[in-house]
């Protein structure tokens, strides 16, 4: 039997028994010339391996894994509203709103708009501006200024909505459908609110992800 067959066999047996074998340690045990072959077979194993039924000790050890705990915390932080994340990241960078605004307008070459940019940033921090309207370019620029990973500034994770929610007519369905149609008709007939064309700064803050 070859070294690869023996090491792989031991790894798989340990995996199935829930003994949490370490890939790196097994690769180090393989002769240098056979490491790539063992790595390829371990990779193939991980794609078909059953998830072990860990005992209580192993489960407790996994729960205490620093990488898992850190990722869970980071994921929870990213799920918090941007109005919470932005000031946290800004304070970590030691920047005031005005500093961020100055660097932002400098990136986009719109230095005259520094004060308005600061106003928009304050609106985000006060949760007065819909994060879904922020452009991807703006988030990239903020990530650059704040030294953050772009994912930390993403406008928010998708909302949980029933994936298979089907319409079921209740007793008063006709009444509320009529009310909705009435409201939509009135909205369609109403004059368009007056507003000037968007400039570059408006597009960054209000134009949506593609602006």
């Amino acid at each position: 039997m070859t070294a690869v067959e023996q090491l792989l066999g031991e790894f798989v047996d340990a995996w199935k028994a829930g003994r949490r074998p370490d890939v790196e340690a097994y690769l180090e045990r393989a002769p240098q010339a056979e490491r790539e072959e063992l790595a390829a077979q371990l990779e193939a194993w991980l794609q078909i391996a059953p998830t072990p039924a860990y005992d209580a000790t192993a489960r407790a050890a996994i729960a205490q894994e620093p990488a898992l705990r850190a990722a869970r915390e980071a994921a929870a932080e990213i799920r918090s509203p941007l109005s919470v994340r932005l000031p946290t990241l800004r304070e970590r960078s030691g920047l005031a709103v005005r500093d961020v605004a100055r660097r932002l307008v400098s990136i986009f070459g719109i230095e005259d708009d520094e004060q308005r940019a600061a106003g928009y940033l304050e609106q985000i921090e006060r949760d007065e501006l819909d994060p879904g309207r922020l452009s991807g370019r703006l988030l990239d620029a903020l990530a650059a200024i704040l030294g953050a990973d772009r994912d930390q500034l993403a406008s928010g994770t998708a909302a949980f909505a029933g994936g298979q929610a089907f319409f079921r007519a209740e007793d008063d369905a006709e009444r509320w459908i009529a009310q909705d149609i009435d409201a939509l008709s009135r909205a369609a007939l109403a004059p368009v609110p007056e507003s000037g064309p968007m400039d570059e700064l408006d597009r960054l803050f209000l134009g949506g992800p593609e602006a």
Partner: protein, 214 residues
């Protein structure tokens, strides 16, 4: 892949379909914890030779955070096998993303004795912004590729029937979580034969995977 894990996935899917966020997150969290070793090992194997120790830890974080926050919404399968397949794709792109980010940072890193002045900061911001923009476009393209991969027929349904009889039987018993002693008994062979058949089957699967992905 284990009946209890299929059950956890089933409960997750039911909760997500109902819009029960707390329930869905609870089962999803359990699936990630149960598969933590798998994810870590996948990151290690995917990144060896390409990423430093710190970058590998970063890739693991990136993969886990995306599992917690993104794949919980985007996963479209119904079996743990499909979950593992999606995770494999996610890990691959987390490693690529980490490598790109490491290159971006090293290109634009300021020296430790750098005295920040406003005009310098502006130039540096613009450079990093351009790099992040480029990275985002590449990442979006990767995610489209990942979606396309997820729509393909499950690899194993295609590959396992192509294995020779003995190798296929060993792999099927392995997938069913049967201990090696039981495999020996059922097939009437020694442990060495099980180990050799398993190794050759996985070698075949690795080769078939390359053909399947290309």
């Amino acid at each position: 892949m284990g009946r209890h894990h299929e059950e956890k996935l089933r409960r997750f899917l039911a909760a997500r379909d109902k819009g029960d966020e707390a329930g869905a997150r609870r089962w999803w969290d359990e699936l990630i914890s149960d598969n933590f070793d798998r994810v870590r090992a996948m990151v290690y194997l995917q990144s060896r030779g390409h990423l430093s120790f710190d970058e590998r830890e970063d890739a693991l974080q990136r993969a886990l955070v995306k599992l917690f926050n993104n794949m919980i919404h985007t996963f479209r399968g119904t079996s743990v096998g499909e979950w593992v397949e999606s995770t494999r794709t996610l890990v691959k792109f987390a490693c690529i993303d980490t490598q790109r980010r490491a290159m971006t940072i090293s290109k634009h890193e300021r020296s430790l004795d750098h005295q920040a002045r406003d005009d310098d900061a502006g130039r540096w911001d613009a450079d990093v912004f351009a790099a992040i923009e480029k990275q985002r476009r590449e990442q979006e393209s990767d995610e489209n590729d990942a979606d396309a991969l997820g729509e393909q027929q499950a690899f194993l349904d295609w590959a396992v029937p192509q294995l020779s009889e003995k190798r296929r039987r060993v792999i099927e018993l392995d997938r069913a979580d049967v201990p090696v002693e039981e495999i020996q008994k059922r097939l009437g062979v020694s442990r060495d034969v099980v180990y050799a058949s398993r190794s050759r089957a996985l070698k075949d699967l690795a080769r078939l995977r390359e053909a399947y992905d290309s």
